[in-house]
């Protein structure tokens, strides 16, 4: 497994000062700007490597770009029609040394870039696990117009917020229950498509606790712009507490709740329908979530279950109860919404 390399480059930082300054300038203008928005202000190793690569490529490209920016106006002005002092050689049309230079330099640049591409692409392959640590498994399912984050080992699921501990990497599997979507947390790293009947993979990690913008970047209809979430990296302790919270405040993801999830609509619609008033704003918490949910959703497009059968779980209820008591919660404490009683 390729472990994660991070090559410090002093020069790279300096180049991006302009862009970063621009970012910083605008970053001060709103409260929400405190959230990690961009890989230029990376919050995880993947994004940091991408930023370094970004600046490195820019720096190298300047070898070709800067001469154009200098010589184009310079030559045009020096050889303007009225400048009678400039030499005029109307028949001059070729020079081997210059030819070698204008082919040679771009070729050299591209050779270097190609080596970089090969290395970086393999190092940062989203399918490749990040480190040998015990990663947290998260399964992401795209609906119109929200993401469902399933924690198959914890039997919970959330919407609107993706919580995870910052000391563990995230092992994400993705699919879509609708059209194609693209899952993206810029401050942490790569985006990847989620498609119906197919499973893509992504590995991310945060450096420290924080809250970052998460979104879908592939247009999927009228709720597209609203398909955002917060990626919340927490301390190990904080994560445990958060999971308890989810269990406490969440509602079971049964067939009825699932119908709400898969119906077209935004996060607010789901919140309203499952009466998630006790949950923190902008989130929906689910408990009793089948570990096979993602597989079932995928299967449904590959000649398998109808969409109403997706949530059928193979886990025994007893097992489920055991898990719940493990977490130290009585089922009665979950604040089940009345709607579920029917």
């Amino acid at each position: 497994m390729p472990t994660f390399r991070r090559r410090p480059h002093i020069g790279r930082r300096a180049i991006g000062t302009g862009l970063l300054a621009a970012l910083a300038l605008s970053a001060g203008s709103g409260p929400a700007a405190a959230e990690g928005l961009s890989f230029l202000d990376p919050q995880g190793p993947v994004a940091a490597a991408q930023r370094d690569h970004f600046y490195a490529v820019i720096l190298l490209m300047l070898v070709v770009v800067v001469p154009v920016l200098i010589f184009t106006p310079l030559v045009a002005w020096r050889y303007r029609y009225r400048n009678h002092g400039a030499r005029y050689a109307p028949d001059w049309k070729f020079s081997w040394p210059l030819e070698a230079l204008i082919w040679g330099v771009p070729v050299a640049v591209v050779v270097v870039l190609s080596v970089w591409i090969w290395q970086e692409t393999h190092d940062l392959d989203p399918y490749a696990p990040l480190a040998a640590d015990k990663s947290l498994r998260v399964e992401v399912i795209g609906y119109d117009w929200k993401w469902l984050f399933v924690y198959p080992d914890l039997h919970i699921a959330t919407m609107g917020v993706l919580g995870f501990p910052s000391d563990r990497s995230l092992d994400i599997r993705l699919t879509s229950a609708s059209v194609m979507q693209s899952f993206f947390i810029p401050a942490l790293g790569s985006q990847i498509y989620a498609m119906a009947g197919m499973r893509t993979k992504l590995h991310l990690k945060a450096n420290r606790p924080g809250t970052f913008l998460g979104e879908n970047t592939q247009y999927n209809g009228k709720g597209f712009h609203d398909q955002k979430f917060r990626a919340r990296a927490m301390t190990a302790r904080g994560f445990t507490d958060w999971v308890k919270q989810v269990r406490a405040k969440g509602v079971p993801l049964d067939a009825k709740a699932y119908d709400v999830v898969r119906a077209k609509g935004g996060l607010t619609d789901v919140r309203r329908a499952v009466a998630g008033g006790s949950m923190p704003p902008g989130t929906v918490y689910f408990t009793d979530v089948s570990a096979d949910l993602l597989a079932n959703v995928m299967h449904q497009f590959n000649g398998g279950a109808s969409s109403s059968e997706v949530i059928v779980s193979e886990r025994s209820p007893a097992n489920d109860t055991a898990l719940r008591s493990d977490a130290g919660h009585a089922a009665s404490a979950t604040g089940e919404p009345p709607a579920r009683e029917e």
Binding site: Y127, M195, M198, T200
Partner: protein, 153 residues
């Protein structure tokens, strides 16, 4: 690899036969070059004489007959191979693929009259360039989609 084992004995025999047939056919195809150049010389110099035209007609007719015979043979072999499962699955695919390629060349040569020595380079370049693009597109598509399919489970 369905039914490969039982057909191996007969398969090798038929395979050798097929190779022999193809090997015998190939020279026949390229033997046409000689007569091809001769006919060009003939037609430029001696237009209008009925006996020459008659010869020219017979030559061209012969070319079509040769082409269609080759086409039938090259079709019959793979159909027979598949019908009687005479080779193992893998070899069968290779054999019918190769035979199809040979037949495509036969069609180009005898029906579409693509014969390099007597050809405008324009047309030949066009066909070769098309082949290049075609391989890039179809091959690339297969490569990409196969890779994706493998990584989507």
């Amino acid at each position: 690899m369905s039914g490969g084992k039982k057909a191996v004995g007969a398969g090798t025999l038929v395979r050798r036969l097929a190779i022999l047939v193809v090997a015998a056919l190939l020279p026949a195809m390229f033997a046409r070059r000689r007569t091809g150049t001769r006919s060009l010389a003939g037609s430029t110099g001696s237009h209008g004489r009925p006996e020459d035209e008659q010869a020219e007609y017979r030559r061209e007719l012969g070319s079509y007959v040769r082409g269609v015979s080759l086409a039938f043979v090259l079709t019959a072999i793979p159909f027979a191979l598949v019908h009687w499962s005479m080779l193992s699955h893998g070899w069968l695919l290779v054999a019918i693929g190769v035979l199809a390629l040979v037949q495509v060349v036969v069609h180009f040569r005898f029906f579409l009259h693509i014969d390099p020595p007597n050809q405008h380079t324009d047309d030949l370049m066009l066909i070769l360039f098309t082949s290049l693009i075609l391989i890039a597109m179809a091959g690339g598509t297969t490569w990409i989609l196969t890779d994706l399919a493998a990584r989507m489970h």
